[in-house]
Every structure is written in structure tokens, then in C-alpha cells.
């Protein structure tokens, strides 16, 4: 399989810094208890109602017809975890609670989680910075489904959600940013402070606590009530562009230092020849290689690195390489990276 066929490998607008864009909408049915109050049968009923509704509407059929229906409980565990690694579903959803289901478009750029925290979590994804396009994709599905479903909505509070923090637009728009230079120069913390004053929030995209694995950060809107989707998206767009510009300047500064030029080449060397790589090591090295590739130092395409950053995650790797034993993973991972970086 050519890695470029995956949307998350593609290099979109501002792709040197912005890996991808996601827009997520939370929706609930008006006359059903929220997910936490539903037993597996109740969840199935909700999923059934949504499925039937989707069938009965021409607009929904057009938008949703091309989507696959996946009963989460029937999915092999590796496949479910791999979906979380590809950010198609949340980590909680990958636990395959009975009664939960997923609608997934064939190109994997739209997914709808049924009976996650909310009855519907509509998610759309694009490579690079593409908030308008991604919003339009999520909005289309939402409008199509809303045409035949009775959404829980209140004029004052907006879309009603299980967690009161999501009320209003119930929209989270986010961008996945690669910020190795700002992180190295210790500027992300300060950035986070000023960003929170603007109604946005930034956090490490992977890894626990404050650590950001692979210098990948997620920037998203925090305010959902009293602000329109348009305003939130414009705000996020403007701040993302500013951060990307800061990162570019910081990268220039960093890569002029001989020790950093060396670091980047060393990472390339290890990636090309290592025989065993654990996922923590691999993501660090790939992050450095991405810094070098974007800076025009290393002869690698960004697309290859984008794909690898996701594909070397444990479950996705095991599926691709048909590995079952954990102790074979590091070997398979090093092999996958070598194959992709061959000149």
C-alpha cells in the first residue's frame, strides 16, 4: 500500500507545521437518556434509530450512503485500538463497549461514533490546516442526520450534551501541530498561557501528562457557548497561522546550530539502519527527521514521515506487519521504517 493514500500522510496547507485538522460535533437525541444512562440494549436502540433515520432521507443517504457501519463489539481488538491511533475514534471508544457503533466513510475522513459520551460524535478530518473544508464535511453530515432526527437542543443553551462543558455549538475544532523548535526553546508553556486567554487550549497530542510525544501538540477551541462556529473557526485559524509562523522562525534559529544539524542527521542514520526500535524512541527520531525534512536538510518527504508517525503505533504496526508477539514489534517497527526510508 502506498502511504500517500492515507489522508493523514498527505501534506496539506501549512503542512510543514500543521499535520491535520479535525472538527468534532456532539449531538444527542431529544427523547433518549444520554449514553451514560443507557445499558447495551439502550445503546443499540439509539444506534438503530440513527441508522433508520439515515436510511429515510435522500440527503442523508447521499452523505452517509458511502459510509460503513461498524458494530464496535464485533471488531477485533487490534483494529479498534488502531482506529484510536489513527485518531478516528477516542481511546474510550476503542474499549468497544457493548452497543456502541461507528459510521466510517471509506476514505476514513469522516467518522460518527454512536453512543460514545454523546449519542453522536460526528468527526471530520483533513490533512494540513483546512478548517473551512473540514467544518463543511462535519456540517454536511450533521445537517443530513438532523433532517430526520430530533436533536436535543435548547434555544439558550444550544445543543444539549452529557457533559455541560460542551453546551452551545458542541463543536471542538482542533489542529495537530508539530512544534519541535518551540518545544526545544521552551516556548510552548508561554504560548499556552496566552492562548488560554483567547479561548483556545493547547496540549500534548500523545503521551501522558505534560509530555508531548514527538513534539506533537493539539490546539483546539475551548469556548462553545456564546460563540458561533464561524467565530471559533476564524479564531483558531488565525492563532494556528501565528503559531506556525513562530515555529518556522524558531526552526531556522535551531537548525543553524551545528549540534542540531548533527542531531537531525544522526536521527536519520538511526532510522535508516536500526534493527530494533521501540515506539517512544521511534517517535522521537521521526520527529527530529521531520524537523530536518521540513528544513530542507534531510532527503525525505514529509508525507513519508507523517504516515510513519501514525503507522508505527503498536496496534497499527501489528496489523500492517502481521505481528502477534509484543517482542517482535520493535523489530517490525524498525523494518517498516527502513523500508520507507530507502533511497
Amino acid at each position: 500500500m502506498h502511504s500517500y493514500e492515507k489522508w493523514y500522510a498527505q501534506k496539506g496547507a501549512q503542512g510543514d507545521v500543521v499535520l491535520s485538522t479535525r472538527v468534532r460535533l456532539a449531538r444527542n437525541l431529544a427523547d433518549m437518556p444520554f449514553s451514560a444512562k443507557l445499558d447495551p440494549q439502550g445503546k443499540e436502540n439509539v444506534a438503530h434509530e440513527i441508522r433508520e433515520a439515515a436510511k429515510n432521507l435522500p440527503l442523508a443517504q447521499k452523505a452517509i450512503g458511502a459510509m460503513r457501519w461498524i458494530d464496535m463489539a464485533e471488531l477485533p481488538q487490534l483494529a479498534a485500538v488502531s482506529m484510536a491511533e489513527q485518531r478516528l475514534v477516542s481511546a474510550a471508544f476503542a474499549r468497544q463497549e457493548p452497543g456502541t457503533a461507528l459510521l466510517l466513510r471509506d476514505d476514513r475522513r469522516v467518522s460518527v461514533m454512536l453512543c460514545e459520551e454523546d449519542h453522536l460524535r460526528i468527526q471530520a478530518y483533513s490533512p494540513g490546516l483546512a478548517l473551512d473544508e473540514t467544518w463543511a464535511m462535519a456540517d454536511e453530515i450533521d445537517t443530513a442526520l438532523g433532517g430526520s432526527l430530533d436533536y436535543a437542543f435548547d434555544e439558550r443553551l444550544g445543543y444539549l450534551t452529557q457533559c455541560p462543558t460542551n453546551l452551545g455549538t458542541a463543536m471542538r475544532a482542533s489542529v495537530l501541530l508539530h512544534l519541535p523548535a518551540l518545544e526545544t526553546l521552551d516556548r510552548v508553556g508561554r504560548l499556552a498561557e496566552s492562548i488560554s486567554k483567547l479561548g483556545l487550549t493547547i496540549r500534548g497530542a500523545f503521551g501522558e501528562g505534560s509530555g508531548a510525544e514527538g513534539s506533537l501538540f493539539q490546539l483546539s477551541n475551548q469556548v462553545t457557548l456564546g460563540i458561533s462556529e464561524r467565530q471559533a473557526l476564524d479564531n483558531l485559524q488565525a492563532i494556528t497561522s501565528q503559531i506556525a509562523e513562530q515555529e518556522r522562525r524558531a526552526r531556522k534559529e535551531l537548525l543553524q546550530r551545528p549540534e542540531w544539524e548533527n542531531k537531525v542527521w544522526r536521527a536519520y542514520g538511526i532510522l535508516r539502519y536500526a534493527r530494533l526500535l521501540d515506539s517512544g524512541d521511534a517517535i522521537k527520531l521521526l520527529s527530529l527527521a521531520r524537523l530536518g525534512a521540513a528544513g530542507g536538510i534531510l532527503p525525505i518527504e514529509i508525507e513519508t514521515l507523517n504516515a510513519l508517525m501514525t503507522d508505527i503505533q503498536p496496534a497499527t504496526l501489528c496489523l500492517a506487519k502481521q505481528v502477534t508477539e509484543a517482542d517482535q514489534r520493535d523489530r517490525a517497527r524498525a523494518e517498516m521504517i527502513r523500508e520507507n526510508l530507502e533511497e
Binding site: R156, T165, L167
Partner: protein, 174 residues
């Protein structure tokens, strides 16, 4: 920065919590943080407090001294206000109506102004069409009842056909 909760003291406790990709920040003074149960959570051997705890802490504190009796249970999902407070999760859409007065101060504290300005199902053309159709069908049903009452069965049959056309997805030319 002033404490978000009491809006009087300087905020000294800053909490950032990410749940399902959604991050929330709270800036509280020492007293309010204690009230929300945060100090105790930090002292716990495992650092793992939930946003819901914070939400329930807020809710619990804003309800203290409140004399308004809450309705005992939501008619749709059966949640009591106590369960919502403890779980930090609202049971269903109806709960927002049932416990509107009790929830309002907390929602205000989370969001500031409670005024939705984004997309609404009503502005969705698809929803508007569906609602229009439903209203049309309801109106025709009333007319049928009136026609039957007046023993005008021909008219009733015509109206019934119209409803059928509408329900099958066609446009009414009425």
C-alpha cells in the same frame, strides 16, 4: 486573575483537565479549590481527579444554602439532582429543563453568558423541511377529523391521499 468561582480572591490553583480531547481550565482561589474538593484530590495517592468531580464540586457548593426544593427525579431518565451532582454528568436533555434552576449557576460559571449563537436545527434547511411537513400532516389530520365529523367522506379521502403523498416524500400541492 480573580477566582472564577467566588470572583473575589486571587486565583492560586490552576487546573487544566483534558477529557476526550476537550480541555478545560479552572482558576480558583485556595478556599474555593478546597470547597470543590481539589486539595483532597491532589493529596490522594493517585492523581486522577475527574472534571466531573470539579463540576459536581461546583454544583454542590452552589446548591448549599439554596432553599428551592429540586424536583425529585427527571421524568425521562429517572436521574435525581443528587446523581447528576455526584456523577458530574447530566442524565438526558430533559434534565436540563427539570433541574434548570439548580443547574443555572453552575452553567454560568462554566460558560459565562448562557446565550447560544451558533448553528441551530431550525436554521437547517433539512430540519425546516421536515418540521414543515410534520406540521402540514398534523393540519391535514385535523381537517380529516373535521371532514369525517361533517360526513364529507370524499373530502376526507382526498386529504388522506395528500397525507400519504407527503409521507412518501412527495411535495404537497395544497
Amino acid at each position: 486573575m480573580l477566582c472564577q468561582h467566588c470572583k473575589q480572591n486571587e486565583a492560586t490553583t490552576h487546573i487544566r483537565r483534558v477529557i476526550n480531547g476537550a480541555a478545560q481550565e479552572y482558576h480558583l482561589c485556595a478556599a474555593c479549590a478546597k470547597e470543590a474538593g481539589i486539595a483532597a484530590q491532589f493529596a490522594a495517592p493517585e492523581f486522577g481527579f475527574q472534571l466531573s468531580d470539579l463540576f459536581s464540586g461546583f454544583l454542590g457548593s452552589s446548591l448549599r444554602g439554596q432553599s428551592l426544593p429540586a424536583p425529585p427525579r427527571c421524568e425521562l431518565c429517572g436521574s435525581s439532582l443528587d446523581e447528576i451532582i455526584r456523577g458530574g454528568r447530566v442524565g438526558c436533555a430533559r434534565c436540563y429543563e427539570t433541574f434548570a434552576e439548580q443547574l443555572q449557576p453552575t452553567l454560568q460559571r462554566i460558560h459565562g453568558v448562557l446565550k447560544h449563537t451558533g448553528k441551530t436545527p431550525e436554521t437547517d434547511p433539512a430540519v425546516a423541511r421536515r418540521k414543515q411537513k410534520e406540521q402540514e400532516i398534523a393540519r391535514l389530520r385535523e381537517e380529516i377529523a373535521a371532514a369525517v365529523q361533517a360526513e364529507d367522506y370524499e373530502q376526507a379521502a382526498r386529504l388522506r391521499d395528500k397525507i400519504k403523498t407527503l409521507e412518501e416524500g412527495g411535495e404537497s400541492n395544497a
